[in-house]
């Protein structure tokens, strides 16, 4: 079963990047995920200042704005999609993620329309 781990940074630095995360921790974790053979996808997102929001109104008008900027305390900084047997396994991987220490990791089961 696939689960998405949404990694939220607890604090954001001046450039809108996640603060307090040691690159070495992330590299070690990423290696563990790869070696466990559970990795489906995973990316780290660029700083929030690079984000753009698009909305299309009912009449088809397209609005493009910069941001969203960090109004909330926690900012999505990256994600993994992993394939593991059950929620407990997914929660365990989430707990080992460095992002869970500085911020939080939200675990979302990926909808399965095949079964």
């Amino acid at each position: 079963m696939k689960y998405m781990l949404l990694i939220h940074a607890g604090a954001v630095d001046e450039q809108g990047g996640a603060a307090g995360c040691e690159p070495a921790d992330w590299m070690a974790y990423d290696k563990q995920v790869q070696e466990a053979g559970i990795l489906v996808a995973g990316e780290s997102l660029a700083d929030l200042v690079t984000a753009t929001t698009v909305r299309v109104a009912a009449d088809g008008t397209r609005t493009v704005t910069d941001g969203p900027f960090a109004e909330t305390r926690e900012v999505l900084g990256g994600f993994y999609v992993i394939d593991v047997p059950d929620l407990d396994a997914a929660l365990d991987w989430a707990a080992r993620c460095p992002g869970a220490r500085d911020g939080s990791v939200v675990v979302r089961p990926v909808a399965d329309f095949g079964a």
């Binding site: 079963m1 059950d86 929620l87 407990d88 089961p109 079964a115």
Partner: protein
Amino acid sequence: MIPGQAVEAVFREEHGRLLAALVRRFGDLDLAEEVTSEAIETALSRWPVDGVPPNPGAWLMTTARRKAVDRLRRDAALAARLAVLQVEADRAGPAPATDEFPDDRLQLFFTCAHPALAAEDRIALTLRCLGGLSTPEVARAFLVPTQTMAKRITRAKHRIRAARIPFRVPGPDELPHRLPVVLQAIYSIFTEGYAAKRTDLTGEAIRLARILRRLMPADREVAGLLALMLLTHARRWPAPDAAGDGAGPAGAADGGAALVGAAEEGAALVVVALTGGAAGFYGVQAAIAALHAEAPDPESADWPQIVALYDVLLSIAPSPVIAVNRAAAVAMRDGPEAGLALLDALAGEPLLRGYGPYTSARADLLSRLGRRGEAEEAYRAALRQAGTDAERAFLRDRIDRIDGIDRL
């Protein structure tokens, strides 16, 4: 014919075991519940005519399994989904032998009280799946309409299926985080029942803890929880007034002997809970309950020891609510002034804002110090915060007594 109550008792005992075995066998809580109910219905119609089979549990299991297989034959989509689940389950661990009828209820406890479920859903599922209560009975426990409870249980089961909350006992790494969630669900059933003076719920919580104790005989916190509930149960309800509306929790039919038995069993379990390692959250509370139970009246309880145990409890689980109880114990040991000083020091705690027992404990100490005006004011504040009729009756009585003294 067999008496309906005897049949019901058999089913209450068998329901959880049957359901747990079927969840493990088929990996689906909904299917397991459906065929468990059907097997029990079949038994209800057949046993009064044919007589109770020699091994009722095995009979129910065979019947339920047959119904599950029939259902899977009719529903190819469900069968396919469960086959995938089986493959995944095998990936997670070796498939257990399925030909005997072992006790799988421990796994079910951990599924029902999974931290990914809302706290009230854990309690509802534990009562439904392990207590064998019907949905209307669970609804009565929560004082909500049956339909509301049916929706809540359906939503929780959907969550178990969709997020694939597993049916397994957590490994040694996870167990210290997971077992307290199971114990909390059982204890919540007890405290709800105790507050509402409902022996059906307190009795059910004790029954569930007994099952858990059989399944985890080496765990000291499970022993501590069972001890705490037995010792609390063995004490009479706190008498709301001098006339003593203190009907014992065991009720009229279940006399003093049963209460003494519960107190003795609880006291023996406290020793188990506190032997062989650091004291746990429930073990320490049970030890406090045992000291209360030992004392013929509150004044002669071993208050120095009770205060010391509250200190231990605060070091395990710091909480302003426990600090309030500790202050009340200090008042018994060192006098009301000392207790009041501790309570007043807690006045800024956000968690205690609007917390009736805090206000009421303060009122009690003020009254003992003869500060009647302040005491009455505090009792009136506690009256506004009180959650149950029994609490309100108790507080009104206290206010009347203060007024009575003033009129003398």
